[in-house]
Symmetry: C2
Subunit: 188 residues, 2 copies
DNA sequence: ACCTGAACACCGTTCAAGT
DNA sequence: ACCTGAACACCGTTCAAGT
């Protein structure tokens, strides 16, 4: 009777895992629960992700961090292009805050270096010497990741402690980004 | 016969846990293994850390992140004071790289805000207006945490892939720090 | 007061077996 | 080829019991 359910795929598995992490937190992501949400026995997942949970976590990081690497068209001011990228990257990280601890772990060596490389290219096109572009790209990426980490921590703390001091994190991020870009401008 | 072993204390437990995390990684830290290393049954730990593993992880973050908050004497150039703090903080985080993912999680709301507050004070003494000091402190802290996160990831990746491109992380950090400090100088 | 033993409800993962 | 059942070696945590 029961209609033949669509077969399991890597993409469907990653999607379901991301939904669990976003909704219930990273610690609630277990193979058994993931199996349940896909209406399948947990062991079936290993057929599509041979390295098991390790591969699953790598897939999550890849999904949120490797995709938004490229930075728009070649035209336009380098400051505007980097600011636009930073806003988008922050949004993406905040949208999947549960994955952030995985980004800090040793997962997915290529994800972040690809992002750094494309930022470096923007700075080079903007007139920065090679070495300054490399330093600048890494500095900007460090700032965005670090700031987002402080944000998710701050947002969680506020939820627990009530609105003692209401921080406007977006404004704080924009101001900090301005500082970093100002520093970048001195190294051109 | 056996000499009466010294009693368990919170400090001894945290120390042993830190030794496990530094030597074998965060994932190898279990209550049972921690008990073994203290020559005690795992359940004894709960007598000193009533909230169990949650309290244990909080203690680790506290140990590496809350201690080095204050930033030296009031004399001297604000740039030098912040640079010295940044170097020391980075050293501390790198020395306990396994704890870094915990810093990114929602643990220990006070640890990082205390650090930010003392950085803010240095900037204020250095002539920054109130708002600029707050932004600057947060930006610097974000950079240091983010950069350290990229470093531990990069160091681990290099161990796995061989010395393809040997990055001088200390030089990269110093250069990035210079950029951030240059940005801070424009906001005074 | 401080620690232990046994037990409970979970984990990730393997492997042979089913279809 | 794709999924399941049962099993294994672990987890964190509780609770009554020992000293």
């Amino acid at each position: 009777m029961s209609h033949p359910r669509e077969p399991l795929t890597r993409d469907r598995i990653i999607d379901a895992a991301l939904r669990i992490v976003d909704g219930q937190g990273l610690s609630r992501l277990t193979m058994r629960r993931l199996g349940d949400s896909l209406e399948v026995e947990a062991m079936a997942i290993y057929h599509h992700l041979p390295r098991g949970k390790e591969a699953l976590l790598d897939g999550l990081v890849e999904h949120v961090a490797v995709h938004p690497a490229p930075v728009g068209g070649a035209g336009g001011d380098w400051r505007q292009r980097l600011a636009a990228w930073a806003d988008g990257y922050r949004d993406r990280l905040l949208g999947h805050a549960g994955v952030l601890p995985l980004l800090v772990t040793r997962r997915n060596a290529v994800a972040l270096s690809m992002t750094a490389a494309s930022l470096q290219e923007v700075l080079r096109q903007g007139g920065h010497p090679e070495a300054a572009a490399a330093t600048g790209a890494h500095t900007l990426l460090s700032f965005v990741i670090g700031h987002t980490a402080l944000e998710v921590r701050g947002l969680a703390a506020r939820q627990a402690a009530g609105p003692e001091d209401t921080v406007d994190w977006s404004a704080r991020f924009t101001a900090g980004l301005g500082l970093v870009l100002a520093g970048l401008a001195t190294a051109r």
